[in-house]
């Protein structure tokens, strides 16, 4: 970093977003807004059966429809790809068959088996109705708890429904269990949910014959993943794929990877040598994009007579569905490894298994391994109840305190000194008024009202600096007129990077945020994109380093031109001036014009131009932490849960833009609330999805969520700006906090939920089970 770095002027300010004027007026440019001459439209025919053999497939009537350009089956398309592998998936690791369209059989409801390309989407869907297909139904594998033992195989090619089985025994755990005062066990279940970006998936691909170039406009979180996978699918060089990045209407993990449909569109565009657009409809998005959180963890904890945690044993099982988006991953291994969280947990042993089923594939959803916090925080409340301790006191007793840091976790994690779980726990407890609420709750119970309080404390490994995720680059150029263009491998889709990156660059370079324009997609250097709470630390550090490199040169040139000492200069808001003598100054535009157009006037040995490229390599992990506490009232007559208050105390290090941080937290929290109370991708026993519209899949509205109160503890990380990632955290802390609040409200009935969703039916069933017993 420059030793003359400007003081922070914009970092830490709730700078209004540079993105907003176009977005609030309807002038964003999302993928469906792209219209190219001669553009065709794709639609997919999808299986209505969970598992079946295709016995007849006749596309001739569809092909004959006026306006239809092509009807593709698996046999037509699948041979055209070299590899469908996502960059995070090791080439040697087993995976479902690499097909874009089902060929011979279908493996979940929504499995695409035919693709029509036509003059319009209307005609393409008409043609789908003319495709003649017959299926021979097979017994589907729907229940993931028994999938591993089933003789029916989701992917016969793999020989088993068991995708992963990672046992990690720990003899020290067994020893600790031997003489513990309390051994407490519970199996915690999450249920099938999905990301629901308001903009569904979509892509426009345009092949330029002879140039051999594929131009792509995509709704993606990762323009470079689109480029790399697209190149592998088409068997062409990465440089032959040009990815244009526009506005992206949310993703929450879903748009980090290419779907089979994206790949089919790329191939079709090449075969037809015509631009092809595919915009997923909401039914497709709910049934066939990706699902998540279909998992359970059996936790056994050993606790001594004073309530000290001694050890834990974990058994995690997760459903990968049929075609997991981004390839079969092992989030369960992360969930178990992270289970100890912000506590002295003692030795932990674990096992993590993943299975295939005839359902929509699993994919990353905001905090993909948040089962660690769900299971742990719900378990701690259970332990508190069993041993008769207050849940806040039990956490206070076991939480990592500043004196414990740095801390080596038995599972291999290492926590740096810059985490602050105890501070956030105390701040949140104070914000909610813990003791007052307990008094209010006791009084309410006497009146026959059921109030509950739930809390969740967690540490999140953000900005993971390993493998393809490890780095980001920034190419920064001050243009002739002094404006700053930054080219980055990110894929901002709501995270406000056009503003926050501009704030970082503005401070480091000495300009105003509005003098900085972020360019993503084509022309940027490789980066994994935006997701995994990584952009502030990794991309932000790259941008900062690039700006710093240019700033040094700006100061050197200005010093030469002004015949001043570089040490006497300061740069702010695009003006370079002599400290204490503001009249002696020149503008960034004057320096830039000299650097490009009058390079003979530059200092000796100074390279012409004003640009710098930097790449930042992140440490293995930068941990953020937070505590969520919410209160609720439960109506025992209807089973309805109403959230009363919701507080978050978080530490994401130095806040770049507090408004944006609070917004990220709020969005994640409400997704978590929705997950526990409302949202559920229900399948029946035959593998039929029952939630195919927003009337069945209940995304929370403004009427369901309380005002959110945010507190901030700021312990800077050791990364260049002192930031920590925060995009996912809300969705990590909220589910167990809400769950624990409902469980607490139900406590007077003597019933304890261990699964979600806690919708009115579930709550009434629990209450009924109490009166039955």
């Amino acid at each position: 970093m420059s030793n003359t770095a400007a003081a922070a002027r914009y970092v830490g300010q709730s700078v209004k977003r540079l993105e907003d004027p176009r977005l609030v007026t309807g002038h964003g440019r999302y993928v469906d807004d792209i219209v190219l001459p001669g553009m065709l439209h794709a639609a997919f025919g999808r299986s209505d059966l969970a598992r079946a053999t295709i016995t007849r497939l006749d596309t001739s009537a569809a092909e004959a429809l006026e306006g239809v350009h092509a009807v593709y089956t698996g046999a037509d398309l699948n041979s055209h790809n070299d590899s469908l592998r996502a960059s995070l998936h090791p080439p040697e690791s087993p995976a479902p068959p690499a097909n874009m369209l089902a060929d011979g059989d279908v493996r979940f409801v929504g499995d695409p088996y035919v693709m029509v390309v036509a003059d319009s989407r209307y005609i393409a869907e008409d043609a789908l109705d003319l495709v003649e297909v017959e299926f021979e139904p097979l017994d589907p594998v729907v229940d993931y708890e028994t999938a591993a033992e089933s003789d029916d195989l989701v992917h016969p090619e793999l020989g088993s429904n068991l995708a992963h089985d990672l046992p990690v025994p720990n003899p020290a755990q067994e020893e600790a269990f031997a003489d513990a005062a309390h051994i407490i066990t519970e199996t915690w279940h999450q249920h099938r949910q999905t990301n629901v970006p308001m903009e569904t998936r979509g892509i426009v691909a345009s092949w330029q014959p002879h140039a051999g170039v594929m131009e792509v406009w995509a709704s993606t979180q990762s323009p470079h993943e689109m480029q790399l996978v697209g190149a592998r699918v088409l068997g062409i060089g990465e440089h032959k794929i040009v990815v244009h990045f526009g506005d992206v209407g949310g993703g929450f993990g879903q748009k980090m990877f290419l779907g089979r449909e994206d790949m089919a569109v790329l191939v079709a565009a090449k075969l037809l040598a015509s631009p092809v657009k595919w915009i997923e409809d909401r039914r497709e998005n709910l049934l066939a994009s990706n699902h998540a959180r279909i998992e359970q963890m059996t936790v056994t904890m050993a606790v001594d007579e004073d309530g000290n945690f001694l050890a834990a044993d974990l058994d995690q099982l997760e459903d990968d569905g049929a075609y997991p988006l981004g390839g079969p991953a092992t989030p369960g291994a992360m969930a178990t490894m992270l289970y100890p969280g912000p506590y002295r947990m003692g030795p932990v042993s674990w096992r993590a298994r993943t299975v295939y089923t005839n359902t929509c594939g699993r994919g990353a959803y905001r905090g993909p391994w948040q089962m660690e916090s769900v299971a742990r925080e719900q378990m701690i409340d259970r332990v508190a109840r069993e041993i008769g301790m207050d849940p806040l006191e039990l956490r206070r007793q076991n939480v990592l305190k500043p004196d414990d840091l740095p801390y080596q976790v038995s599972t291999g994690l290492f926590f740096e000194t810059t985490i602050s779980p105890e501070q956030t726990l105390e701040q949140a407890a104070e914000m909610i008024g813990y003791d007052d609420f307990r008094a209010e709750q006791a009084k309410a119970r006497e009146e026959g009202r059921y109030l509950g309080l739930g809390m969740a404390l967690y540490i999140e490994p953000t900005s993971m600096g390993m493998g393809p995720l490890g780095t980001e680059s920034a190419m920064l150029r001050v243009e002739v007129d002094g404006h700053v263009n930054v080219f980055m491998g990110t894929g901002s889709h709501g995270q406000s990077l056009e503003t926050t990156i501009a704030q970082l660059v503005a401070d480091e370079l000495g300009v105003r945020p509005e003098d900085v324009t972020l360019h993503q997609g084509h022309g940027s250097g490789y980066g994994f994109g935006t997701g995994g709470s990584r952009s502030a630390v990794i991309a932000g550090s790259a941008a900062r380093a690039a700006a710093s490199g240019v700033r040094d040169k700006v100061v050197a040139i200005a010093a030469h031109l002004m015949e001043a000492s570089a040490d006497d200069l300061e740069v702010a808001d695009g003006v370079i001036s002599v400290k204490g003598t503001p009249a002696a100054s020149m503008t960034m535009a004057q320096v830039a014009a000299t650097a490009y157009q009058n390079s003979d006037a530059l200092p000796p040995d100074t390279e012409a131009g004003l640009e710098h490229t930097a790449r930042y390599k992140a440490p293995p992990s930068t941990h953020s932490n937070a505590c969520h506490i919410c209160t609720c009232e439960l109506d025992p007559g209807t089973g309805k849960v109403t959230l009363l208050r919701y507080v978050v105390s978080e530490d994401c290090g130095v806040l770049i833009n507090p408004m944006v941080v609070d917004g990220q937290i709020a969005g994640g929290v409400v997704q978590g609330i929705g997950g526990v109370l409302y949202e559920h991708c229900v399948y029946d026993e035959s593998g039929n999805p029952l939630a195919s519209t927003f009337l069945d899949y209940l995304v929370p509205t403004a009427a369901e969520v309380p005002d959110l109160e945010c507190g901030h503890v700021v312990v800077p990380s050791d990364t260049p700006g002192g930031h920590k990632g925060t995009g996912e955290g809300g969705a990590i802390g909220a589910p167990p906090a809400v769950f624990n609040a409902v469980a607490d409200a139900l406590a007077p009935f003597g019933v304890y939920p261990n699964r979600q969703p806690l919708d009115p039916n579930a709550v009434l069933s629990l209450i009924a089970s109490a009166s039955d017993s």
């Binding site: 209004k16 907003d20 609030v24 005609i123 970006p197 909401r282």
Partner: protein, 162 residues
């Protein structure tokens, strides 16, 4: 394919003529023939509200109407709210001030819905705001900024300033 029929309506103060099958939705007409790509399609079954426009002053879901049903109507989309290139409508300004948007996809529908809601209820309570905008879905903001923006816009439109 059914025969195409002529279509004509006023969109943001200008007459827009086009052709379409009777099944052409108003949303598709506005996006593809009237060039109002701010009309967003989030569900195409009338729940998410992203496609909300004003038809003769009333907020409607343009995905649930056929273009022929809007024949001769006066349509205002999100593009038609701001008075000029440099100035935002008070609702738009409030969404920016209050971080009422992140990805921005649901925003046009919200902005139009809130403008219509405040026209009908210029002095809403917080509870009325939350229920008044419950016909639109947002997945990014958790509604915190949207509720605050609606509050601010109500005050500005009443002439109370910010």
């Amino acid at each position: 394919m059914a025969d195409q029929v002529p279509l004509s309506m006023t969109v943001n103060g200008r007459t827009r003529r086009g052709m379409g099958e009777p099944r052409l939705t108003l949303a598709d007409f506005l996006r593809e023939q009237a060039l109002c790509t701010g009309v967003h399609l989030g569900c195409e079954h009338g729940v998410c509200g992203s496609c909300t426009v004003l038809m003769d002053g009333e907020a409607v879901r343009s995905c649930l109407l056929f273009a022929v049903q809007a024949e001769g109507a006066d349509i205002t989309t999100v593009e038609g709210l701001a008075p000029d290139d440099e100035t935002l409508h008070p609702v738009q300004e409030a969404f920016r001030d209050c971080h009422g948007l992140q990805c921005g996809f649901c925003t046009p529908g919200f902005v139009v819905s809130v403008a219509a809601f405040l026209e009908a209820n210029p002095d809403p309570s917080d509870d009325e705001i939350r229920h008044g905008i419950a016909g639109n879905l947002c997945r990014c903001t958790g509604y915190q900024g949207i509720v605050a923006a609606t509050r601010q816009a109500a005050a500005v439109l009443k002439g109370e300033g910010q």
